[in-house]
Amino acid sequence: MAKEDVLLLDFWVSPFCSRVKIALAEKGVAYQQRGEDIFGGKSELLLKSNPIYQKVPVLLHDGKPMCESTNIVQYIDETWPSPPLLPSSAYDRARARFWADFIDKKLFDAGGNIWKTKGEDQAAAKKELIQILKYLEGGLGDKDYFGGDSFGFVDIIAIPLTNWFFAYEKFGNFKVEEECPKFAAWTKRCLGRESVAKTLPDPQQVVEFVSMMRKMHGIE
């Protein structure tokens, strides 16, 4: 497939963009990438492709835009079926979508509440994050990955968000590994995968980005 058929509008630190990049890497799909200046001024293509939310990621395939990362990952799985990211049975696919939806609704905002707050509010936010991770540990069970033996859809939805955990741990003064060892083990397992390791930014750079955001929010 020619590179110019697939274009990703991207922001380097966005875990949502990372989801799309990991999915494309898993499928071996060649694509072009264009970094957006989120704070300076979003491109005309982005505003035209995602007029409702004006956010990244946007995937353009043959010029047709798709928005919302979980949506995009499903599109990638359906368009380039091999290797499959979603399980084959309808019930297992429903379980996978349930966990992806849970992660989307809960995880990033809970993390955000940790770095955006202090004192009692932060303590409550930490408690909430740990509870969310414990639910995810329940979903993982004794499996290596959420889908079973193979890295797949839910892992792709979740793993980029863990890239921000270093920042949450620093500003929240706690360690995920101590509270949720099973989740930490799953994280390490996924980080060993080439598509993940090559995609995710250096966690230290994420810390610097979050530190800048804290200053912008007047927290530091």
């Binding site: 798709m66 919302e68 696919r93 429903a94 979508r97 349930f98």
Partner: protein, 234 residues
């Protein structure tokens, strides 16, 4: 023999979404009404994360979250599809279903609970969302095209419950004048056979709104507002 059970609550538009999909596909199911002030052990067992309805049980296996259930139904029973086959069109349908669920529903919900002071601002936000939705509908009969699809199903609150509640409270958010295409969609939608079978009588909805589990204060506040004149400057 397929065993299909639905744990639901008759007022809930999320539950209604699932019922409409089951009716479209002609699936026989047992409906179990939950008392949300006293949830059954089965509900808590089948949906331990959220402890909410709807939950679909298919041959003993539970599925929670209405949009996840809709996709499951569509993948399991292939007749009368509610999602397009083409991956791009499917992605579009999922996007709009999420927009209805996460942006339209909360905005409309807020207008129902607005004080006089809040009403105009909340109404403005709701109007903005409905405008986006109407633009997406364009000249189509339904969001799904010639027949109803997932987006229409998820928007059942707009088509039925919201218009009923709005009329009772004398609100002017979703009107035929403001949104002629969306209004026509709503009329066509509620008259669709599988949808009609799932709609309670309007007076029963009003008499039992809001659901008891939302608390006595909210219930009596709503019932007393039915007697008041229209809010804001309308």
């Amino acid at each position: 023999m397929e065993e299909v059970k639905l744990f639901g609550y008759w007022v809930s538009p999320f539950c209604r979404s699932v019922e409409i999909a089951l009716k479209i596909k002609g699936i026989q199911y047992e409906y179990i009404e939950e008392d949300l002030t006293n949830k059954s052990p089965q509900l808590l067992q089948y949906n331990p994360v959220y402890k909410k309805i709807p939950v679909l049980l298919h041959n003993g296996k539970p599925i929670a979250e209405s949009m996840v259930i809709l996709e499951y139904i569509d993948e399991t029973w292939k007749n009368n599809p509610i999602l397009p086959k083409d991956p791009f069109e499917k992605a579009r349908a999922r996007f709009w279903a999420n927009f209805v669920d996460q942006k339209c529903f909360p905005a409309l919900w807020k207008t129902i609970w607005s004080t006089s002071e809040q009403y105009e601002q909340n109404k403005a936000e709701a109007l903005e969302r409905l405008k986006v939705l109407e633009n997406e509908l364009g000249g189509k009969r339904f969001f799904g095209g010639d027949s109803i699809g997932m987006v229409d199903i998820v928007a059942n609150f707009i088509g039925f419950s919201f218009r009923t509640i709005q009329e009772a409270l004398k609100l002017d958010v979703f009107t035929e004048d403001n949104f002629p295409k969306l209004w026509e969609w709503a009329e066509n939608f509620v008259n669709c056979s599988p949808v009609k079978k799932c709609l309670p009588p309007q007076d029963k909805l009003i008499a039992n709104f809001p659901p008891a589990y939302m608390g006595k204060t909210l219930v009596s506040s709503f019932q007393s507002r039915l007697q008041l004149p229209p809010p804001g400057g309308c």
